[in-house]
Symmetry: C2
Subunit: 501 residues, 2 copies
Amino acid sequence: MSVHGLTLGDVLGEHRRGRPLGLAVVDADVRLTYPGLDERVNRLANALAADGVAPGERVLWLGRNSFRILELLLAAARLGAICCPANRRQSAGELTFVLDDLRPAVVVFEESEAAGQARARTVAKARWVAAGEEYEAYAAAGAPSEPAVTVDPGDPVLALYTAAFDGRPAAALLSHTALIAHTMTLLHVRRMEDGFTYLNSGPLFHVGTMMFCLAAFQLGGTNVFTPAYDPEEVCRLIEAERCTHAFLFGPMIDRLVEANAGGAHDLSSLRFASHSPAWDAMITVDDSPWGASKMGGYGQTEVGGMLTFLGLAPGGRGPAGRPSPLVHVRILDPAGTEVPPGETGEICARGATIFSGYWNRPERNAAKTAGGWHHTGDLGRREPDGTITFIGPGLRMIKSANENIYPAEVERALREHEAVADAAVIGVPDPAWGQSVKAIVVLKDGASLTPEQVVAHVRSRIASYKKPRHVEFADAIPKKGHTPDYDALDAAYGGGGHPGT
Amino acid sequence: MSVHGLTLGDVLGEHRRGRPLGLAVVDADVRLTYPGLDERVNRLANALAADGVAPGERVLWLGRNSFRILELLLAAARLGAICCPANRRQSAGELTFVLDDLRPAVVVFEESEAAGQARARTVAKARWVAAGEEYEAYAAAGAPSEPAVTVDPGDPVLALYTAAFDGRPAAALLSHTALIAHTMTLLHVRRMEDGFTYLNSGPLFHVGTMMFCLAAFQLGGTNVFTPAYDPEEVCRLIEAERCTHAFLFGPMIDRLVEANAGGAHDLSSLRFASHSPAWDAMITVDDSPWGASKMGGYGQTEVGGMLTFLGLAPGGRGPAGRPSPLVHVRILDPAGTEVPPGETGEICARGATIFSGYWNRPERNAAKTAGGWHHTGDLGRREPDGTITFIGPGLRMIKSANENIYPAEVERALREHEAVADAAVIGVPDPAWGQSVKAIVVLKDGASLTPEQVVAHVRSRIASYKKPRHVEFADAIPKKGHTPDYDALDAAYGGGGHPGT
């Protein structure tokens, strides 16, 4: 056992001693102090160990939000195992894929048609435990002593499915060290302090909520859980538990304001960004440089959450701000060479918060860590003042006259035109230059533009060699999720000759 | 190269890119941006490498405060080597001990009689470089490219001599990871932010100043250096550089207030704890829960600086507060078993900020890490509310003018006098300095010495601040086993005011 080690289980052990009366979790009628949570976690860990959950084994949660996700994660932490909270609203086929991919030793699930079908179809041999009474009995049956397992804090403990770049998601593995390091960056950037009470109002299978849940835990604060986003219930919980923070964004806030229109609930404990006059009147607006409104930056599940923060570069030119103090960033070209400030390349990084690779994806992991740098797959640049701009995902590249052109960058420039509703960019074969750039543009209702105007606009924004040589107008851009479906675009508009294809 | 690595050299590399105009250091007529510091560090590193400074080799600084200590540390960091800034005010014998113990490859030194004698006596084969023109030419001669050395962030990079428990100091080794982790705890606890400008007004061979120097560096802030504590010059620097923080305590502040009695200097940029009405009127008093006044807690060089912080347990019962978020603490009995809350035991800890052992002390290191816990050698307890109380050193220590003085070290010097049969040293309360040193001396039969001769003898052997201010002669030293019975000595000779009592 190294004197330098700190695992999530160790954090819980410290809180049991250091915060004997501290309220760790609130969930419906469950209220647990840190000693109470520690005892439940030990019992659950010993029950899991009896079901074969050894170091490196996986446990899967298929259910709505619950403090039991944190409990399961901490029990896995005590065993050197990996906890995966997955999205239960996936189809039976998607759930089967997750089960076959992850091969969990134990699955805790809420009944659903899809879960039942996936259970019948999967080749994974898991012990299935139904959330509710069965789980409670299961979790209470283990011995209360701490499992005698030596856990390496560099080993993964959390798996989150993400990044369906090739049409199938993969589970990003995050180690104890990465999660604790990421928490330290949040504590620093957001000036988190004693009394932090977090309402887990977003899904815990997403890093956006999970990272704050873990920060509240590491701080010795309180995590409040609600099974799903119900604006009435969220108002009630904020008032009852004096929640100081919550996972909320635009449309969620609008529904909250509507639900509390009569002012029935006192939401003044909540410190959040300004949104609308009605919202601002209900809560405590935090417009400090480290407040919620300045949370912006650049991140992804694979870096534990956030890699850069706007709040670390007040007044800087790049909207992504500066890297957190525990990482460093390089903007690299496809050959792995650093590009100069002002030029676009792939955002690459190194540091304590970076993930440990995807579960069961050795080839992709090798590509993600080429040259000893984590390759985010996203495009960005260093501004002359040293701050970072996130350009967009770097899925597809165009090679014209030996220059690398990233569709996301050209698309961003196109969308900045007031007459453009949407746009996508592909490479078309070019006998002279290998490829040339073709833009497919959707105009706003009633707007009109000539191809020449489109080209002139792009040329005014980015380097000339990136401007489209061909422009076609269309009614819509085919999409895969939120990103253009480039295969469909290539087929419809004559694309081809992409490097690497 | 792991994607998780972050060394001090990496931090500098990020700042070179991220803060192209950021002022890194100010020292007399030297003003360096981060790119400027990065270039100097690379040149110095390449020069050191040519002198055999390979991974694990040591470089020693024997001089007053200077930005060149940070530069030397960062150059060592780029090479995987270890930098030791040592106290140049030590005697020739003490300096010889350090040289023989550390065996540095390169020594940068300011001329002094003691340094000259130590250089003549030591068996260490080092390249000696005189601070000043010789050093400047030496540091400028290397190539400006970054050395191609892969550095493990878990390897030591800083060595600080401390802990003369057995009569001889030892060099505590701190890794990149430990120093960066400790900085993260400071950023969190002290809410450090952009614009942090630190005046290095304390000695950089002491962790108390070094930890803030490193925090300012990690933040991308500015470090201002002054060769020694001159109140007039400190006032001038605070005003000229708009320093926001500085290393200061009671008697230093009194001298500053005296020097600025006429209000000649505007010290309002300095944010510091309240001290006296005159002081409070000169500076910006920071009485926030994370302000300088709440810096208290418990620490030692071996944990990178601070292990626990009062500011993390506002209103808590234990004056040492709570552990930093990157460590966990156990109070253990001599058998390594945890003692219950309220009972005294040894403060033991695990976590990222813990040191890598003492240089060249394998037996002591084994004892320090028994059972996988770092043994601080200090006594403490958990209060019922979970907070920590520091009781005192497991071995007796004297604290005078913020310096740790170990009786064993002074006693060893006393016993080396041919007329001394036995001796013991206690601390007596001192209104100005907390404590001062009192020696109780047993002379050999027929020998005679004056108190002045005793003091002069000690002063010839060890640093002046450790010499006795009071000497009493006695017939015998009361003992507990082989060691002096300090409680009996305190009672008989007016001892008291020991830290923790």
